[in-house]
């Protein structure tokens, strides 16, 4: 598997690019650390340094799972879903009567979803959680016999499963798509992840430097129009420039990237609303500087399923 991936020049070039970017960012932070003197700027630089350290780790994990093959990528995303669901449920109040439903959600529904992705059973993995789990959760909860807050409690778990498991599982599902005249699916996944994450980072950078007008101050005080426009347009440009990774033409790649960025933004905003409601800033503390897993992949949650389906619809191998 590693040999075939290394033989794929485009993939090697893309990962080389990421590596160069990380090195440049690390060096830049080191230089900035020596230059800045105000306390506020120092805090920003330290924040950036922590984030970049986490980026090294995330890229390393992602790259090695890709190098090890499809199955490992599915397992990696499955693990991410598991951890993300855990962060989600930790934040949403459940009661003792929900224990059994939670048990099945963590130990059966989540792994099974990824098994379905891993065996490439498209017809099943796209409906498994929206149909079967959707029905299972309230049934099991009702059997536990506690009516207080029933709708709210079941809806929370259903939501958690959809966002943290179902949506995320569409990212590794890209590896199993059969596309017309294209078999570099690993690159397609890389395209999605790079554009989503670049969009996050670029929005953050644009917002930090030029951000003035807040988009939704009641939900996310860090999101500004300047950051949004700058981040989305530059990440879209990046996506277009990466067209050679994909089965798309440069224009199609730009359109896809734009869509990914917009959905990613929407994902971040929606998840912020949940965090706000629960009175927390982050879902967790696993990734230094970033918060929890769910804080890092909130944009991916929203972008992955739409990107998956559009790609499948327009570029699928026919017959």
């Amino acid at each position: 598997m590693i040999e075939t991936l290394l033989a794929d020049r485009a993939l090697v070039r893309a990962f080389g690019g990421i590596l160069v970017l990380l090195v440049v960012a690390s060096v830049a932070v080191r230089i900035l650390r020596g230059v800045v003197d105000s306390d506020r700027a120092k805090a920003t630089v330290e924040d950036a340094a922590t984030r970049i350290r986490s980026w090294w780790l995330m890229c390393l994990v992602f790259a090695s799972s890709m190098a090890l093959g499809k199955v490992f990528s599915v397992v990696l995303f499955g693990l991410l879903s598991f951890l993300a669901l855990r962060e989600f449920v930790t934040l949403t109040p459940t009661i003792r009567a929900d224990h059994a439903a939670l048990f099945w959600a963590f130990y059966l529904l989540t792994p099974l979803q990824y098994v379905l992705v891993g065996i490439g059973w498209y017809g099943m993995f796209t409906i498994f959680l929206p149909v079967y789990a959707f029905l299972f959760v309230p049934i099991r909860t009702a059997l536990a016999g506690e009516p207080v807050g029933f709708l709210e409690r079941t809806a929370k778990l259903q939501w958690g499963l959809m966002v943290a498991v179902y949506c995320v599982s569409h990212a590794p599902a890209l590896l199993y798509l059969e596309l017309d005249g294209y078999d570099g699916n690993a690159k397609l996944l890389l395209f999605l992840v790079v554009v989503v994450q670049a969009s996050d980072v670029l929005q953050y950078l644009w917002g930090k430097t030029l951000g003035r007008h807040k988009i939704a101050p009641t939900i996310s005080p860090n999101k500004t129009w300047e950051g949004f426009v700058g981040g989305v347009s530059s990440a879209t440009a990046l996506g277009a420039a990466l067209w050679w990774l994909t089965p798309f033409t440069p224009v199609q790649a730009a359109a896809m990237a734009l869509l990914i960025c917009l959905l990613g933004f929407a994902g971040g905003l929606t998840m912020s609303a949940i965090k706000r409601d629960r009175g927390v800033k982050d879902f967790g503390t696993v990734l230094a500087g970033h918060g929890g897993i769910l804080d890092r992949i909130d944009s991916l949650c929203f972008a992955a399923p739409v990107f998956f389906h559009l790609t499948r619809y327009f570029f699928r191998a026919v017959g």
Binding site: V89, R96, F106
Partner: protein, 195 residues
């Protein structure tokens, strides 16, 4: 750790001295999690206090005495008369005092797991125990979310994120009344839940 427990020490640091960790009780995992939150050198000298009637027999007893090196005490019978309960309680305190030696203890003043996650009333045993060894520090300990990870009556833990918070040590004031002390301990643990 499976339940991703994190630990915080507020106004206290892990020290190799004799202490009694007093915590709210909602789950079988409570003692294990406190234990895991301690540095390895302290784990060897820290022992949970558990109910003999619950932990007696077979695998349970082996787990309690061999693995966790718990001090098993008799809980007073609920239907026994007042005098018998007093005797049993005194015996439990004396036994704990005897067995603990210079070890630290993990103790749940509620005496049983709360079914709802709310803290129940504290039993007087902890007061009598401290009375007999006033030099030992009481470390108020708050356990968050463990009642959700593994509630009473369930056997499989759900992997939610839990946390342990240790607070600044308390001591029994000279001439402090039983209820005043128990109340103070309880309030301190409640405050940790908001810290």
């Amino acid at each position: 750790l499976w339940c991703g427990a994190s630990s915080r020490w507020i106004g206290v640091t892990p020290e190799p001295q004799q202490r009694i960790y007093c915590a709210n009780h909602a789950s079988h995992l409570d003692a294990v999690v406190i234990w895991a939150a301690l540095p390895p050198n302290l784990r060897r000298t820290t022992r949970p206090v558990a109910a003999a009637d619950y932990w007696r027999g077979g695998v349970k007893q082996w787990l309690a005495t061999r693995v966790f090196r718990a001090i098993l005490i008799e809980r007073g019978k609920r239907d026994g008369d007042a005098e018998a309960r007093r005797v049993a309680a005194r015996e439990a305190v004396e036994q704990t005092r005897r067995e603990m030696g210079s070890d630290s203890l993990i103790l749940f003043p509620e005496g049983t797991r709360s079914p709802t996650g709310e803290m129940g009333p504290f039993k007087a045993g902890v007061f009598h125990l401290v009375q007999s060894c006033p030099e030992v520090e009481i470390v108020p300990t708050y356990l968050h979310n463990l009642g959700r990870v593994l509630p009473r009556g369930e056997f499989a833990p759900v992997p939610l994120l839990a946390s342990v918070t240790f607070g600044a040590p308390l001591r029994l004031e000279p001439d402090e009344d039983r209820d005043v002390f128990l109340d103070r301990l309880r309030t301190t643990i409640e405050e940790l839940s908001r810290a």
